[in-house]
Symmetry: C2
Subunit: 233 residues, 2 copies
Amino acid sequence: MSFDKILSLKGRILLYLADRGAFTDVIELSTIKLARDLGISQQSASRLLIELEGEKLIERRDLGRTRGVRLTEDALKILLEMHAHLKNIFEKPAELSLEGRVFTGFGEGAYYTQIPHYVKEFEEKLGFKPYPGTLNIRLIRHDDLLKRMILERAADIVIEGFSDGRRAYGGARCIFAKLNGEDVVIIFIDRTHYSKDVIEVIAPICLREKLKLSDGDRVRLTVKLNPTYLIRC
Amino acid sequence: MSFDKILSLKGRILLYLADRGAFTDVIELSTIKLARDLGISQQSASRLLIELEGEKLIERRDLGRTRGVRLTEDALKILLEMHAHLKNIFEKPAELSLEGRVFTGFGEGAYYTQIPHYVKEFEEKLGFKPYPGTLNIRLIRHDDLLKRMILERAADIVIEGFSDGRRAYGGARCIFAKLNGEDVVIIFIDRTHYSKDVIEVIAPICLREKLKLSDGDRVRLTVKLNPTYLIRC
DNA sequence: ATTACTATTTCCCGAGTAA
DNA sequence: TTTACTCGGGAAATAGTAA
């Protein structure tokens, strides 16, 4: 397993036993089999089992001609604590923070955010009717470009594209965020004209007014998301 | 942390970094601080960071006068895999299996299972009207007595007691199970007259008839439950 | 077959210290 | 201050082998 390198040999043995259900039942296990399965010597397997028994992490008993092992409550507690710890890291929302400067775009945002199809989609999926137009933010720091890629992957609210017979209108993906503390939605438009250092934001209100923003002002975007998304692309 | 003993030092460092959010941001970290926090020497901290960098599990960079570290995607994958593995062990339903012999009890079961208050509770909480009477099973193996204790803790369907003014009727705790493949409910009666080697079972049908059971017949009870319950008492 | 002892080797931690 | 080198000692792995 790829995570063997972060475990001690004793840890690998406890996990090996847990995998085989040795917290309810005594399982049959010879030092030779354990050694083979873990890629260590039989001698080490023997020594480690003796040590683990001394540390009250396993119990061993004779089962007729073979020997049985099971985890103790202490060992189970250790594994459960490890589990709880990793859960805490990977299943708790983390916050991603990006910084950029407001700029005036091509003016397309105002057009698209008023197309009835999109308005309906926004209302259904975001819960509000967007103020016409998008606020454009140009990222400053290089690290934030990476974060933008992460966000693009994490944005899981899908706005469907459509066609009116004359032309096709593309889709987009959204994610909720805060901009200087104000609730906003970051929108990643499928076929945007902007480069990868730009983030577009919509909100139910006029952000420029509410936050008194002018071109060149620095703004901070924060997004809460599950750290599982943070695997870099 | 109690789980330090199952981790290698490199594992502890990766977890240390993950705890501090070093999968999104570069964090400031001196070898001295790391050494102090992990209870190892500065020299070891230095060596381990160099090795981890060589293994492409961390990236280091100069931040002006201090040094920054962050986890690589590879390291994140390892931690996530560990997390997924423990999830699989502890959050997947496991099966507990017990064996015993049918015996005829004091006949109280038939009385209690027909009391309107209990019938109503059963129907609401178990989804069926029980066939009058409980099937009594005496456990055979010593290990199964332990499993009975686990089950008693895991039984989380609560049947409330009541009083009719003349006397008090006790409550019980239930858990769904299979008896020789048939859907049943194990019922742990709060103030039972039976000893700890007895399990009582109710079902919507007459189990003795359906499964052609007589006193002394061996039956197998299986219960699916979340392994978190398997922490022995 | 198995387990586990003793002997040997390998590897890793930490002290000393240079840059 | 900091990091990271060399090196000595001890822990931990394997080899050999007895029971």
